[in-house]
Each structure stands twice: as C-alpha cells, then as structure tokens.
Amino acid sequence: MGLEGLNQLYRQVVLDAAVDQRYRGQLLNPTAVQLAHNPNCGDVLELQIKVSDRHITAIAFQGQGCTISQASASILADLALHQSLESMQTRISQFQKMITGKESVEIDQLGDASVFSKISQFPTRVKCAGLAWDALEQMLKNNQFD
C-alpha cells in the first residue's frame, strides 16, 4: 500500500473533524452517559446525550484519543443531533457493517461518516473508528428513554 494509503485514511474531512470543538465537553443534565474504552491503546471516551420525545436534542463527548477515534466521535455527534433514536439505530448498524467491511451495505444515511468506508483496509484502526458508535449503541440498549 505504501504511504499513499495515509491519504485514504486521513482524508481532510477526518483531520478537520478530529479537531472540531463543537461537540467536545459535557452537557448539563444529560439523559444518558456512556463510557467507551479501547483496551488496545487505553483511550477512553465519554459520550453524553440529551433525549426528548425520542430525539437526540444535544450530544457531547470528551476524552483523549487518536485522530480516527476523535474524528469519528465528532462526525457521529454532528450526524446524531436532532435525529430520532430509531434512525440512529439504523445508522449505527450501517456504520458498523461498513467499517468491518464484512458485507456491502447502504451508506446513504451516513453523511460524512461514509469517509470511513475504506477503514476495513486498516484493520488495526477499525476499533478506533467504531469507539463512539459503540458507545451510542450501548446507550440505546441500556436506556428506555421514555
């Protein structure tokens, strides 16, 4: 593959998203909080959401991590804001299928997140890309949001 692979992995939109500050930090009175941990590198990410009428009305994350995990969290936050929990469920499942590359999948609803469509070529980084998404998936599983 060589170094040209770097440009595939670190597209400009990824590099920009990694330093995007809009969703960094904590929410006041979040409806749900979820920690996600990447045991390979020790990175920890905390995701918080506010839910009203089964829609995500606010979202934030904090934690240290690599370019890929931070960018993916930013992109997820931007995508999830104002979306219904049900539609996020679909997107999470699309995203997870896309990054593992196990089956071809519709990515029409993933927006900027489709930038990670080639990440299965970098198996050691799939976990980084999926970290925030796994956290949101856990949140949706663990909470009723009624």
């Binding site: 593959m1 060589g2 170094l3 692979g5 770097l6 992995l9 670190y10 400009q12 590099l15 920009d16 990694a18 330093v19 500050q21 809009r22 960094r24 930090g25 390979n40 590198c41 020790g42 990175d43 920890v44 240290q64 991590g65 690599c66 370019t67 890929i68 970098f122 050691t124 980084r125 980084c128």
Partner: protein, 417 residues
Amino acid sequence: MSKNQFRDDFPILNNVKMNDEPLAYLDNAATSQKPQLVIDRISRYYSYENANIHRATHALALKATDDYEQVRDQVRHFINAKSRDEIIFTRSTTESLNWVAQRWGEAKLKPGDEIVLSILEHHSNLVPWQQVAKKTGARLRFLDFNQEGVIDLNAAKKTINAKTKIVSITQVSNVLGSIQPVKELALMAHQVNAIMIVDAAQSVPHFKIDVQNLDCDFLAFSAHKMLGPTGVGVLYGKSELLEKIDPEFFGGEMIEEVSKNEASFKSGALRFEAGTQNIAGVIAFGAALTYLQKVGFDKIAAQDRSLMESAISALQNRSQVKIYGSADPANHTGIISFNVGEIHPHDVSTVFDLDGVAIRAGHHCAEPLMNRLGVSATCRASFYFYNNLDDVERFLIALKDTEDFFNRHPSKESSNG
C-alpha cells in the same frame, strides 16, 4: 553498512513484505522472530519423532523423552540453576507468574502481609498479585523509579520491611528497557525473610542470567521472546521452595503410583507438569537456546548497544520526539518508548505500518506506568540482534514521514470551545 550475519537465518526478515514494503521488524519485546532451524525442529519432531513422553516403553517415546528432558538441562545451564528439578516448563511468563502467585502467594500470605512490586510492572506481574491480595488480605506496595527508569534502592529500603513477604520485580522494563537492580532487591527481601521473584521476560533474551548469583527464589520467562516457539514458558524455583508446594493439576505424566484411593507424585519439576506437555515446543526451544548460545551474549549486547546508540542519538535531534526512560543507550535493552509531539501513538504507528516498519503503540500492558509517565500511551520500537542499522534508518524515515504528514495537516485552532 556492514551486513548482519544473522539475518539470513530468519526467513521472515528477508522474504516478507508488509504493506508492499520490506519488513523492518521492531516489535521484538512483544515476540522475537524465529530462525529457520527452530521452525525446522518443530517440523522434524512431528514428521519423524512424534511420541508421547515419560510413559511408553518404545524407542520413539524414549527419544522424545530424552530430547524433551535434555532441554530442561539446557535451560538449567542457561540460567545456571543448581538442579534440573528447579526448571518447570509452563506456557508463558504470565502462566509462570500466576503460578507462583497462586501456589505460593495464596498459600502463605496472611492479612497485613505485604507484597512489594514496582510501578514498572507488566500487568502479568501486577494483576495476579492484586487477586492474591484480595483473597488473602495482604497489601500491595509499589516501588517508584528515578529519571533513569531504575527503581530507587533508598526508597526500596524503606518499603521492604518486616511485613514484606514477597518482592516481585521485572528485571527489564518492557516499556523503558531500563535494567532493574534485582540482585540488590533480592538481598533486601532476604534480610526480612521475604522471597524474591523476578520477571525475566525482557532480560533473558538480552543478557546472561545467573539465578544463583541473583539469588532470586523464582524467575519467569518465555521461549517466544528468545527465538523459540510460542506456548512455552519457564518457571525457575529454588528446590527448597518448590518442595513445599503441592501440585495443582493431577493426572498423567506427574504421578509415581496410583491405586484406587491414593496416588503418589513424581519428585522435582515433573510433578508440576501434568498431562501431555508442549513437547514439540520445548524441543524447538532447545534448538533456539543452542542457536542463541552460538550467537553469544557478547554479540547480542554489542548489537543492542550499537543500535540503541544510533537510534537514540538520532532521536535526540528531533525536537518533536520525547524518549521515555534513560538518556543512556546502555540502559535500554533494545527498547525505545517515545511520543511524537501531540500525535497520538496509534496515528504514529499507522504511518510506520504503511512504511513497513512494525512498532507497537498503546499502553504495553503497563497502565500504572503510563499514568506515572503522564501519558495514556506511547510508541515502542524494540530491537534484537538481527536488526541492523538499515532498520534504524527505516525507523527514522517512518518518523520523518509521520512528522511530515501531520505537520502538513496541522490541527486547526479551535474556533469555539
């Protein structure tokens, strides 16, 4: 550049590409590569010599038993143990350390007793002791290290006291490469009637170990970090201590005599090796030890030194690079942990990966040490004697590629907070 005479013995070093680039393998602290003769030894055993050991009376089994037991003698001489009964084959360093923790620690410790470790320990010399402490009510105490990455003996004098029953310390840090004063710590431990355990996973591959000189009570290491196959470990234990430990697994291989209601066990190490062992692995480990002795620790040390001097002096000129541990190349044992500015270690190691340079990024199974260093992770390049200055060069090119790529794509200033 002088040719490294050993490289041709390792098929992976000459024939394998990683991401279309020739492989520069710098992850030796995780596992070493294997010379062809070790690979062939496994194949030869299964092709022409396969039989179960210690029981059958046929010639094939006798040869397999002899070959297996000869490796026990080889290991004994390799670390200068007093007796072959002091050498137990396990699956790994981790299993060896867990074994001591459970078989000695759990049996002997009482509430209020203290186990002394260092903040440098690999999780496999930490987590087993946490479990023992929970079960017995014993307390863990930790030795800190100085700027050189070496345990401070003055502080150790205060920490190791009458309550101390076990001192268990790595001889070489798997993150910093720094060499620890285990002989001095063994003396301190014995002065208070504690036992001394040495995690030698990173030291045995690099320098001559003499367990009688160290006067440690137990010492653990793995075959796979010193040219041998995976799945073979060694636990050295002083005879007088092993005699006080009952076997934990019962069945084939380890018994002397069995009646319907009673059984007696073999003596020495054999009573701890229940069931059919990793015979091929142990025999191939013997081939690895023979090869290593032919190379010689003088050559290994000289190569370590030359690679470390070259790599560290080049890194010291890179303003973005921070090296953890000693500034002295002699105190690195082939291991360099580093970070590149604010670039996350996983991002760094991806660039190295695409350049064909295999390094490790993460916490290296030493999270307390990462906390002590104030980082969540580091990059780690670890060398062995078959690495050469070309590998150092490749390492530096990958580093430059990393800096170039991420400096070309700098982090934007945050627009809002």
